[in-house]
Subunit: 195 residues, 2 copies
């Protein structure tokens, strides 16, 4: 059953790409099948419906995201070094790694926030997980640790800057966006560690 797994992975990657560009609601099975080099009905040997395919795509997208951001930080000491690397890689994720259509999670968040269903449920569940993981790292910025509220506030601002950078860079082609995001983040870190 190894051949099938490889094809499945290609389908998920392609679906993620197209969903990041056009949105989940605008992805057609025909386009995905053609891009992967399959017939439309061939897709159904791997996913029983379009919705199942979308769920698997979003789930794998989150896996890739978390691996990319948190994968390499284990070697660094907790606290500021880790949080700095997380933010840097978070910016990279939107700008460099996913140059094609931007971050799938951001696209899905904006698209699905008003559309109830299993896809939104999955999205919310995994964002909650991510928030928790991020808060854990952020808390270690200070000794004694930051409170839950403080950590949440720092996490909020980090995500805000990531969103701001993606918006400025991707839509407006603003090449200074990364620098702006990084400067705002550095100031945030200084304030947090000091306060």
């Amino acid at each position: 059953m190894r051949k099938g797994d490889a094809t499945k992975a290609r389908i998920l990657d392609e679906t993620a790409r197209q969903a990041a560009v056009k949105g989940f609601g605008a992805v057609s099975l025909n386009d995905v099948a053609e891009a992967v080099g399959l017939s439309k009905s061939g897709l159904f040997k791997h996913f029983e419906s379009k919705e199942v395919m979308e769920l698997a795509t979003l789930d794998q997208g989150f896996d890739r995201f978390v691996d990319y951001i948190l994968g390499p930080v284990g070697t660094l000491p907790p606290g500021r070094p880790r949080v700095e690397m997380i933010f840097d890689r978070w910016l990279d994720w939107s700008e460099v790694e996913n140059a094609a259509g931007g971050c799938l999670i951001v696209a899905a968040s904006v698209e699905l926030d008003d559309q109830p269903g299993p896809l939104r449920d999955l999205l919310i569940r995994r964002v909650k997980q991510w928030r928790k993981a991020l808060a854990r790292e952020v808390k270690a910025l200070r000794d004694p640790e930051l409170s839950d509220e403080e950590a949440a506030s720092v996490g909020f601002q980090m995500k805000s800057y990531v969103l701001g950078q993606a918006d400025a860079k991707r839509l407006m082609g603003d090449s200074t966006a990364r620098k702006a995001a990084h400067a705002a983040f550095a100031a945030l870190l200084d304030r947090t560690v000091a306060g």
Copy 2:
């Protein structure tokens, strides 16, 4: 020709609502026509194509946005009071005024950033206008005025917090989002006015 204008306005409002919820690419003429109480072909008496309808929708959406944010600030003195009101109303715009599907501009920005065409061109053009108008107000935060770079940085952070609040509130139901955005913004103002 007065009856037609009223219908046209209803069509644009409904299209904006649906586009904010599902994205422009997922809006169907049938759904819009039904919601407005027209036949599908009736739409074509007001717009020669779907694309023209989308362009008019986005353009009107921007008009509404700018009017809502900048309309009432004229009575306030330039500088901090105006910028504070702009930010407050900007938050309201995403959270209160457009409870249905969120801010159309944010939705369009994420959806269109990788899809070239007249719709994206219009979006970019109007965002540029908005940036310029915002920078003008932000510069007056200090005397002597902020430099272009400083104003751009403050504008970037303001938009970041707006995006962060929308993300946290709309998708995750985070009721503390507005407070977090406002706290981050207040700190930004203090730093800017002082520095």
